[in-house]
């Protein structure tokens, strides 16, 4: 079934992660009580857009808990990501109204063009697709949020027209906007 599963990070990619922001975040924590774990995860995700594995090792050491426990917490909350998401996160509403009015068709269109299912990121790292249980705007079903932009009353057939506006290169996007 569709969930906001994060994709498993490529294990063989050994990226260099700058741990300075994590160290800074840890340094500013009041203590290592377990209740600070989730706020800390949020801060780290704000810094990196996701939760890099080396940063999680530092957290495990600091909070004196195992990595298994940290990843257990991370996987509980779909908003926490363990791999770098695409430039734009598509939150496609799968609430009842949106579902009935064509959300699955939108999902299929996205898959046809970008080869991604919920929880996945396309090869060019442009989009990460997530589903939402309800975005709270059923009157405008079906709806989706792309990056910071909200779209309502989407015509499923025009899905790709909307997404086509988004480019990996900002300059290119501005150019098109100007035209």
């Amino acid at each position: 079934m569709a969930t906001n599963d994060a994709t498993i990070a490529d294990q063989d990619v050994d990226e260099e992660i700058d741990l300075a922001p994590t160290e800074e975040i840890i340094k500013n924590l009041a203590d290592n009580s377990r209740s600070l774990l989730i706020p800390t995860l949020q801060k780290i995700q704000n810094a990196y857009r996701y939760l890099p594995a080396p940063a999680m090792e530092l957290l495990a050491e600091f909070f004196n808990i195992t990595r298994a426990e940290i990843y257990g917490v991370i996987s509980f909350y779909p908003v926490l990501l363990i791999s770098e998401p695409g430039k734009y996160i598509i939150k496609l509403c799968y609430g009842t109204a949106c579902f009935v009015k064509g959300a699955p068709i939108i999902g299929d269109k996205i898959h046809d063009r970008y080869h991604i299912r919920p929880g996945e990121t396309d090869g060019a790292k442009l989009f990460t697709l997530q589903t939402a249980s309800c975005l709270g705007n059923c009157g405008a079903a079906p709806m989706a949020i792309v990056g910071e932009d909200t779209y309502g009353n989407i015509d499923p057939e025009k899905t790709l027209d909307i997404l086509g506006e988004y480019k990996i290169d900002d300059a290119e996007m501005l150019e098109e906007a100007a035209v």
């Binding site: 079934m1 969930t3 599963d5 498993i8 990070a9 294990q11 594995a53 999680m56 808990i65 195992t66 990595r67 298994a68 426990e69 940290i70 990843y71 257990g72 996987s75 509980f76 363990i82």
Partner: protein
């Protein structure tokens, strides 16, 4: 426990009046009284969790009826409990029904088939007609580690594995992933499992979602033949269940039943996965005779007659005391008894020993001194109810992993305080509220143990006047503690006095105290003094404080205790009756007496001293010199390769008898399969050898030998077990309490650093012990190579990074090459190398050095 006694509550279960200790959950009370209650996620070793919701019962307290989950609700005075009512069944069934929607029915190939709580509960609740459409998951099985297969389609999310890994093992390698409908069990980031491989998760899993991949067969385990026996690795003495099929041992499981063994259904990697030694192509399968350097198979008759003739000839030519024997610490009690009986009774030689006694004869004196001081020590089963545990120089997860399990249980259920003294920052995660870590400078054990006593005396934490009146030499001993001032101790040990004070205060309180001592103290040159100091500490609280104190000698192998109890030492006859003073003691310096020609015949029953003894050069020389060497063993060891005659012995799974664990529990060893090849248990070999000498033993079966032992050694009277084991008790305790003042002035000082800046620590690896575990395929897979440990800062200074090969050199002009990893567990200035790999012969670095071994470390070129 002596300190906190729990009240008991009178309750009624289904109309029957029973009582249960306050705080017991209803489900446990029902189980103790053989009242079945459906449940899937309860385990008495774990904290209540209430995941499965299938254990509802009805309670009436003060006339008020309630429906409660029996796994979390404690009993209360006057509570009436009704199980399996129409109403509770309806609720319980509904939850079970949901589980069955997803659960696959691949029972014939499931490792829990027939022993499956889900099957049992389905039957108990008569849940045969589910209302819902079946919707199975179809996840592939995960086999990314060599031991534990995850087949999560069968998982019912009871959380037992996650909790066992955390609460029992303190490892927490598993956790829940995701939530709601898609919740599952997994490792961090779904990486391959990398843990202690204790397999506790396999035992507690109710459905076969986690399976032992070392098992030789899948499914229908209820049809396997179970043999309850005692593990043959470390001295903790866990009861294991050998499961066999068609005459082959398939796997080893734990038995979580009540009152089974001392281990409450906990096992470690060695115990669970070490069955690879039983059916093994490398085993010696026939008697072998050395013909000019190559071995020729001969018949048992020829072999035994050759040995018998040779023994008789040696007695005639050189006198009885020119024959010596080394009994393995893995022989059963009955075999050890017959071994010494053959030497003493048939040959007239007192020259028998075992390797632990050869190195540290003071271990036996220590045991007897404990008794004399009134410390008989409680059975080890009481460890989990301890108020305070002092773990002295023992890396529990490697040395006594199941002891660690008991202690963790105590920290959860009995508020056990934990005091850990070790030169390394050993990893031991538990829920102890008081967890004092004394990480001292390597080699400073004696100062730590002595200072603890002195703090108790100085701060009057016990009734000093009372001790002074009961123990005669108290004053003398106190004077001997004079050097252990706070400042001097801090200088020697590197430990601030407040840490030691905190530990001493905890230890001195009226409490049930346990002291677990590690075998590493034998490597310090002060083994005897450290044991004396710890005994003094225990005597102090025993005679000056309330509660109880238990201390066990460090014992390494499964029957290290029993082989001494049975008198395989030159100092003692069976049952610690002293040998007459006039008797020659050549076995006390066995190796040199082989070299100087005093000993002409040596019989080594199941040991490989070339690798396991700390004087490898001397051993080789002795074995080269002694005119005739007989070795019995399971595998062709380097020691066996020097023998004139090699006899194939059977493994523990092929013989009957008893082992005595380090806390003196005498436990059964039972044969599960017939011996491989022509091998025989040492018991049979000794019986037949006596017959070949023309002096057959009168008692030739295990039971009658046990009866003989009980008559000869009174401490073994009435302890030979049926399905329950007992701890043997000393004949007289508290006979002559005294303190043992240490005089270390004559001892050779540990060598100064000089050109060798590191001190070497060697002990058993978590996955290996003795000479057998390297033949167990599964243990080799999880512990394939020797990896030394170095502190990251030391490594950095030497330009060494993790994964490099290093060369280690000692003053003994020995060099070994080994892979290294960096960890903060090993303190600065220390190098840790596990001793279980033949290609990394750490004992050659030691080569007879009694104290700390100093080494230098460089990156391999």
């Amino acid at each position: 426990m002596s300190v906190v006694t729990k009240k008991s509550c009178n309750i009624k279960i289904d109309g029957k009046e029973v009582s249960a200790a306050e705080g017991t959950v209803i489900l446990e009370a029902c189980k103790q009284n053989d009242v079945p209650v459906s449940n899937l996620c309860y385990n008495r070793k774990l904290l209540p969790f209430a995941a499965c919701r299938t254990c509802m019962v009805e309670t009436v307290v003060d006339g008020k009826k309630e429906l409660v989950y029996s796994c979390t609700q404690p009993v209360a005075e006057g509570m009436e409990i009704r199980t399996g009512t129409e109403e509770t069944n309806r609720y319980n069934k509904a939850c079970l029904e949901m589980l069955l929607v997803e659960h696959p029915l691949d029972c014939p190939i499931c490792d829990k088939s027939g022993v499956c709580p889900l099957q049992d509960n389905t039957d108990m609740l008569q849940m045969f007609d589910g209302r819902f459409e079946i919707q199975r998951r179809n996840e592939p099985s995960i086999k990314t580690n060599p031991i534990i297969e995850f087949y999560l389609n069968r998982c019912i999310m009871c959380g037992l594995c996650v909790r066992a890994c955390d609460e029992i093992q303190g490892v927490q390698a598993l956790d829940f992933h995701k939530r709601g409908m898609s919740v599952s069990i997994g490792t961090a980031n779904d990486e391959p499992l990398d843990c202690e491989f204790c397999g506790q998760c396999i035992t507690v899993c109710p459905t076969g979602a986690l399976m032992d991949m070392t098992s030789g067969a899948r499914g229908l385990v209820a049809l396997f033949t179970d043999t309850h026996t005692t593990c043959n690795y470390c001295s903790w003495g866990c009861t294991i269940k050998l499961e066999s099929k068609k005459g082959q041992v398939i796997r080893i499981e734990a038995d979580e039943g009540y009152d089974v063994g001392i281990n409450e259904g906990n096992l470690c990697a060695k115990g669970r996965l070490g069955h690879g030694i039983i059916h093994n192509a490398q085993r010696i399968e026939s008697p072998l005779i050395n013909v000019g350097g190559s071995y020729k198979e001969i018949t048992w008759e020829e072999a035994l007659q050759t040995i018998a003739d040779r023994m008789q000839a040696t007695v005639n030519r050189n006198g009885p005391d020119s024959l010596a024997g080394v009994a393995s610490e893995k022989l059963t009690n009955e075999e050890s008894y017959l071994f010494q009986k053959m030497f003493r009774g048939l040959l007239g030689s007192n020259q028998i020993t075992n390797l632990a006694n050869l190195r540290a004869p003071y271990l036996n004196s220590f045991t007897l001194n404990c008794f004399a001081n009134g410390i008989a020590s409680q059975p080890i089963t009481k460890l989990q109810e301890a108020d305070v545990v002092l773990v002295f120089n023992s890396d529990l997860p490697s040395e006594y992993p199941v002891g660690g399990n008991s202690i963790r249980f105590g920290t959860v259920f009995s508020d056990t305080d934990l005091l850990i003294a070790n030169p390394r920052k050993v990893v031991f995660d538990s829920r102890a509220k008081v967890d004092v870590r004394m990480t001292y400078k390597h080699g400073a054990d004696l100062a730590v143990a002595s200072r603890l006593s002195r703090i108790i005396i100085d701060n009057k934490l016990v009734d000093v006047a009372k001790i002074n009146s009961t123990v005669a030499n108290y004053e003398n001993w106190v004077q001997s503690l004079a050097p252990y001032t706070a400042a001097m101790t801090e200088q020697t040990t590197g430990l601030p006095d407040d840490v030691l004070t905190r530990a001493a205060e905890r230890f001195a309180r009226d409490a049930d105290r346990f002291v677990i001592v590690g075998n590493d103290i034998l490597d310090t040159n002060h083994g005897e003094e450290i044991l004396n100091a710890l005994l003094n500490l225990c005597t102090l609280v025993r005679h000056g404080g309330g509660g109880s104190v238990s201390i066990y000698p460090p014992r390494e192998h499964c029957n290290s205790q029993g082989v001494n109890d049975m008198g395989c030492t030159p100092e003692f006859l069976p049952g610690y009756q002293p040998v007459e003073d006039s008797a020659a003691n050549l076995a006390g310096d066995l190796l040199r007496n082989c070299i100087n020609g005093a000993l002409k015949f040596l019989y080594i029953a199941g040991e490989d001293p070339i690798h396991s003894y700390y004087k490898p050069q001397l051993v080789k020389e002795a074995l080269r010199t002694v005119p005739f060497l007989v070795v019995t063993d399971v595998f062709m060891t380097d020691t066996a390769r020097m023998a004139d005659l090699v006899l194939p012995a059977s493994t523990f799974a092929e013989k009957d008898g008893t082992y005595t664990n380090m806390s003196r529990h005498v436990q059964r060893v039972a044969a599960a399969v017939i011996p491989q090849g022509l091998s025989k248990p040492d018991f049979d070999i000794l019986i037949e050898l006596a017959a070949a000498m023309g002096k057959p033993f009168q008692n030739t079966d295990v039971v009658s030998v046990q009866q003989e032992i009980a008559t000869v050694a009174s401490i073994y009277k009435g302890v030979f077990p049926g399905n329950k084991s007992a701890q043997w008790q000393p004949d007289s305790a508290n006979a002559n309490p005294k303190f043992h003042a240490n005089d270390t002035s004559t001892k050779q000082r540990d060598a100064a650093a000089g050109d060798y800046p590191f001190t070497l620590q060697t002990n058993n690896h978590m996955f290996h012990i003795g000479s057998y575990s390297q033949h167990a395929k599964a243990l080799v897979e999880i512990g394939p190579e020797c990896v030394a440990e170095l502190h990251p800062d030391d490594a950095k200074e030497l330009g060494i990074s993790a994964g490099d090969d290093i060369v280690v050199e000692s003053a003994a002009e020995s060099k070994v090459k080994v892979k290294v990893k960096t960890t903060k567990v090993t303190s600065r200035g220390m190098l840790y190398i596990p001793k279980n790999w033949i290609d990394v012969p750490v004992n050659t670095l030691r080569n007879g050095e009694e104290g700390l071994v100093r080494v230098k470390v460089s990156k391999a070129g």
